[in-house]
């Protein structure tokens, strides 16, 4: 069988109440699957069901050749390791001790570590770049260090699948990147299958081989990130009514200022973005143009304004675009020149500034 983790019509929930049904996942070995979706959508419930922390309600889950219900606790422990959101505070316990707990399914009745166990502990610490933390007390760690040690603990369990529930929560951006890099390496080099939930959609897009969008009672979408990008908007998934999320760049824009435009921004080539965001902060509705369709300014402008004059990429701006922009400009009280250089293709923008001067509309230079 090609798929290592597979669910068929899986329904999950608590106490027999179904929260999400018809979850169908097919995941090959060594791939990374990320669950995204709004808070409370049931990402954790799905992960807990896959790891048998809670009982599944309907359907089947296969990990490897067998259904998970048929694994004994010990066999299951050798298949699947977890990194949970539970805040653990063991007292007077070194990081090496915490990591060594991962050997639990392998050690004897008294938990005695063999030289091979110790080597595995060491190797796991090395993989998360935390060898220097081995003897440090676990309770003294920072969030980033803690998460790496918990990941080492999971690696130490020598599982085929690692399941992580929001492993990047509480981490700053540097530690997020570090952690995801380690996961990517584990998947590639050790062929470990990774299933996790993330809040950072941009990171999820970049690290995952598959995305599972959880929303409402069923799965909103499942597939490679590129396909999801085509078919589903993040605004739908998260019910974003104001504001927006640009999947291509992974950038968030806040709520668009409403109303008739008061300021016209002459922009292009990325010069306008700072102006747009500054105007959004002051909640001033604005119009902008003329922008080529492939301009970065255009991506942001569309999220923040309803009045964007766009001309086709790779062609000179035409008189028609000028007319359209001029009409908007004349409604505005002020004009901002973002400082975009004028060349052969965007000469119409120079004409716009000229028009403003003629009509005695005050012109500010970008940023002010």
């Amino acid at each position: 069988m090609k798929d290592y983790v597979r669910t068929e019509h899986l329904a999950v929930g608590y106490d027999g109440n179904i929260l999400i049904h018809d979850i169908n996942i097919q995941l090959e070995k060594g791939k990374i699957l990320t669950l995204i979706g709004p808070n409370g959508a049931g990402k954790t419930t799905i992960l807990k069901t896959l790891t048998r922390q809670i009982a599944l309600i309907r359907g089947t889950v296969y990990i490897g050749p067998r259904e998970i219900a048929s694994w004994s606790p010990k066999e299951m422990a050798k298949q699947v390791a977890v990194v949970l959101t539970d805040r653990i505070r063991p007292e007077l316990t070194t990081c090496a001790d915490v990591v060594a707990m991962g050997r639990y399914p392998y050690t004897n009745l008294f938990g005695k570590l063999t030289p091979r166990d110790m080597a595995v502990v060491r190797d796991a610490l090395e993989r998360v770049h935390a060898l220097d933390l081995a003897e440090q007390d676990f309770s003294t760690l920072s969030d980033g260090q803690r998460q790496r040690i918990l990941l080492a603990r999971a690696i130490c369990q020598e599982p085929e699948v690692i399941v992580l529930d929001e492993p990047t929560a509480y981490l700053d951006i540097r530690h997020k990147i570090e952690l995801l890099d380690i996961l990517r390496e584990m998947a590639q080099k050790k062929n470990i299958t990774v299933i996790m939930s993330l809040h950072e959609i941009d990171l999820a897009m970049k690290i995952s081989d598959y995305l599972l969008c959880v929303k409402g009672e069923t799965i909103a979408a499942y597939g490679p990130p590129e396909e999801i990008l085509k078919n589903c908007t993040i605004e739908q998934l998260y019910d974003i009514q104001n504001g927006s999320y640009n999947l291509l760049f992974g950038s968030v824009e806040l709520t668009k200022p409403r109303g008739a435009p008061k300021v016209f921004v002459v922009a292009g080539g990325g010069y306008g973005i700072a102006c747009y965001r500054a105007l959004q902060k002051k909640e001033i509705p604005f119009a902008t143009g003329i922008l080529f369709a492939n301009d970065v300014d255009c991506q942001v402008a569309r999220e923040l304004s309803d009045h964007v004059v766009v001309s086709p990429a790779f062609e000179a701006m035409t008189e028609r675009h000028f007319e359209e922009a001029a009409a908007l400009l004349l409604q505005c009280e002020q004009v901002i020149d973002a400082g975009t250089p004028v060349g052969t293709l965007n000469r119409q923008n120079a004409k716009l500034l000229q028009l403003a001067q003629e009509k005695a509309i005050p012109i500010h230079r970008g940023g002010s």
């Binding site: 048998r52 539970d86 007292e91 007077l92 316990t93 001790d97 081995a134």
Partner: protein, 376 residues
Amino acid sequence: MKQNSQGMEPKQSENIPLGQMGRFAVVMLFLSGMLLVALLMNVNIGSVSIAVGDVFRILWDGIRYGIANAVTKGGFAQELGAVITSSTESQILFRIRIPRMLLAAILGGALSVSGYLLQVFFRNPIAGPFVLGISSGAKMIVGITLIFLARRMEHISSFTLIAAAFIGSLLITAVVLLFAQKVRNMSMLLVVGIMVGYICGAVTDFCVTFADDHDVVNLTNWSMGTFSGANWEHVKTAALLCIPGMVGALLLSKPIAAYALGEGYALSLGLRIKPFRVVLILLSSLFSSCVTALAGPVSFVGIAVPHMTRTLLKSSKPAFVIPAAFLCGAVFCTFCDLIARTVFAPTELAIGTVTSVFGAPVVIYMMVKRRRTLEH
């Protein structure tokens, strides 16, 4: 240069388990030494002071008597037996002091392990059989048993008392667990435990008040908490229950370590949580009911001693903490008993009075320190 940067690191990490092991050995040696000193002092000091040399001579006689009696049952054994019974000092030693100190040592150890297991169960270092009301529950059932059985039976065996205490412990544990499901807050749970403890105390007092004086005679002393009633039967019973109990506790040391990481992690490591928790409670109740049945209420040992043990070991590895806590509890209780019976002699203090004086400050210190780390 090259040696410094590359040669050092692997060595250090290989030393991790060894270093802890070394500390464990040192602590165990230290505690064993302390126990030996405590035992000797207990035998030596009292209303009749027996010189250390005599103690050893009498002990030697006793050992020879035991061996001779077992091997030959002949004249030599009888001769030795006569020597022992004829001397007041050896009478005091064998009838009173030795069983008393052995009982104090065994029950002290049992009580601290009982507290430790409860702390594991509730994942809270301030849990213990006394604060959670479990000891009081055991005391209540034992008290009732004593009052009602004393009329019908001449002699109540220590097993009966322990069985009564065990039922009482489990009963109150069940009540506390019921509340534990409702209140997630640990300090609230402790308040519940203390309140349940008071209720049990009130019921016990009620029974005592309305019982015949005759029935209560052997109750008053016991209800204060003391090792003064110790005899060889008690020692045997305690050893018979506590030694297998300790073996059981040691066998739990691996799952306890996993459980300390939280239920989620323990589960994913392959621990069967429910049976584990049941065994934990049964063992803890077994230990604490031995203590309550044979010595009455002894406060704070269950919290203070495991904490002192962890501090000494600088580790909370269960495989280290469990045996060390047993030894430490034995040392703590034998010293406390020594103080209880000698400081204001001939008046004897209740054992709980002494253990509270030493134990309660430790608990207060823990709570203050814990608050600080939580705020941190």
